[in-house]
Symmetry: C2
Subunit: 231 residues, 2 copies
């Protein structure tokens, strides 16, 4: 499903070059459950942004379902992001003036083909909120919620359109252990029960342990790639 071929992502900052991704090659099959781990600043979010078609490599190739993503135009990319990928951002990126319900329904609103009616969108959003334990916060805006509640709204939004691939960047960073476990159970079930691909950036070993495969980044490179403890 995913093929990264010698991908670089660099930034130039006043004469200095920051190598956020420094030659990454990876293959991830459909239905895999993968944890991405590594130190702060090692390139995890940058990798997720490339995988999620939110950022393009400085060099190297990214093929998604066999298609080279760099030949897609903006409209096609937006379509891929909307239909195929559900993204939980490390900093949530919720719309501050919209309610939780409106935020969660957003991916459905952006659809062109097979678009649901407003009533059906609202029902799907309410259901997604229920799954993350926020049914009673549907009409709250982000600044009327706790940090962990906002994080769960971001998770519900990523799930509502039932995308094939879920990219979750530190989805339990603001959650207590009990809520964390509930969210994790839900994410881990998606490959098993629905064949969807789930990639989770995490710095918590307990989260990585529940994934089939763990990829470790350091200074923009893959330094470890193990399946259940075996390289």
């Amino acid at each position: 499903l995913i093929e990264l071929d010698d991908v670089y992502r660099t930034y130039e900052m006043g004469g200095e070059v920051v190598r956020a991704l420094d030659g990454v090659s990876l293959r991830i099959e459909a239905g895999e459950l993968v944890a991405i781990i590594g130190q702060s600043g090692s390139g995890k979010s940058t990798l997720m942004n490339v995988l999620g078609c939110l950022d393009s490599p400085t060099s190297g190739r990214y093929a998604l379902a066999g298609q080279d993503v760099s030949v897609l135009d903006d409209e096609q990319l937006a379509h891929v992001r909307n239909r195929t990928i559900g993204f939980v951002f490390q900093s949530f990126h919720l719309l501050p003036r919209q309610t939780a319900l409106e935020n969660v329904a957003l991916p459905l609103l952006y659809r062109r083909e097979g678009r649901l009616t407003p009533k059906a969108r609202e029902a799907a959003a309410q259901e997604a909120l229920g799954i993350v334990g926020l049914a009673d916060r549907a009409l709250h805006r982000p600044n009327e919620m706790s940090g962990g509640q906002r994080q769960r709204v971001a998770i519900a939004r990523a799930l509502v359109g039932k995308p094939h691939m879920i990219l979750a960047d530190e989805p339990t960073g603001n959650l207590d252990s009990k809520t964390s476990l509930e969210i994790l159970d839900l994410l881990v079930a998606l490959p098993e029960e629905q064949g969807r691909t789930v990639i989770i950036v995490t710095h918590e070993p307990e989260v990585a342990e529940r994934c089939h495969r763990t990829i470790r980044l350091l200074d923009g490179k893959v330094v470890e790639d193990t399946r259940d403890g075996t390289p």
Copy 2:
């Protein structure tokens, strides 16, 4: 140092009342190292905002160093916040168009008495960035940094003015275990080595274990208050 007396913080949302703090009474002495734990939505950030003089209780009393905070005017409150309290926010609240160095120097810029020269402010900010491992990111803006780097800038900013009291709302939520440990070592040393009061909201048991005292919130109430495991 801190005395909360039957503090309530409620919100009215279209006919429904949300009790973020539902009758909290607490005493925290100067120099204590306290962990605040509890489920997502249990009231931890609300408690921190009240302690940090960023929010006032709906009812009840908050006395800081013997002084009832509700009788202070806006200018006096701003002075208390600037001089006495260093706050690490759960969502960082960095200024997006300023560099890490400028963000960290901000509390020093706001001082009236005993104000440092621009050169001295810059040196203090650079030192604080060094302490959190970000000396080489001083000129980066928040969107040119990773999530964990932004979190550390927020921590450096809380420490730069050497305030008596540090309120850290989930300071290691976006950090890998190694960086987390370094930040924790640094926070835990402040009461021991400098007699400062440190209150850390955390959902990670390993962080709570390093504090002398743990206060657990549930539905806006204190349900547990133990010192090294003893109530």
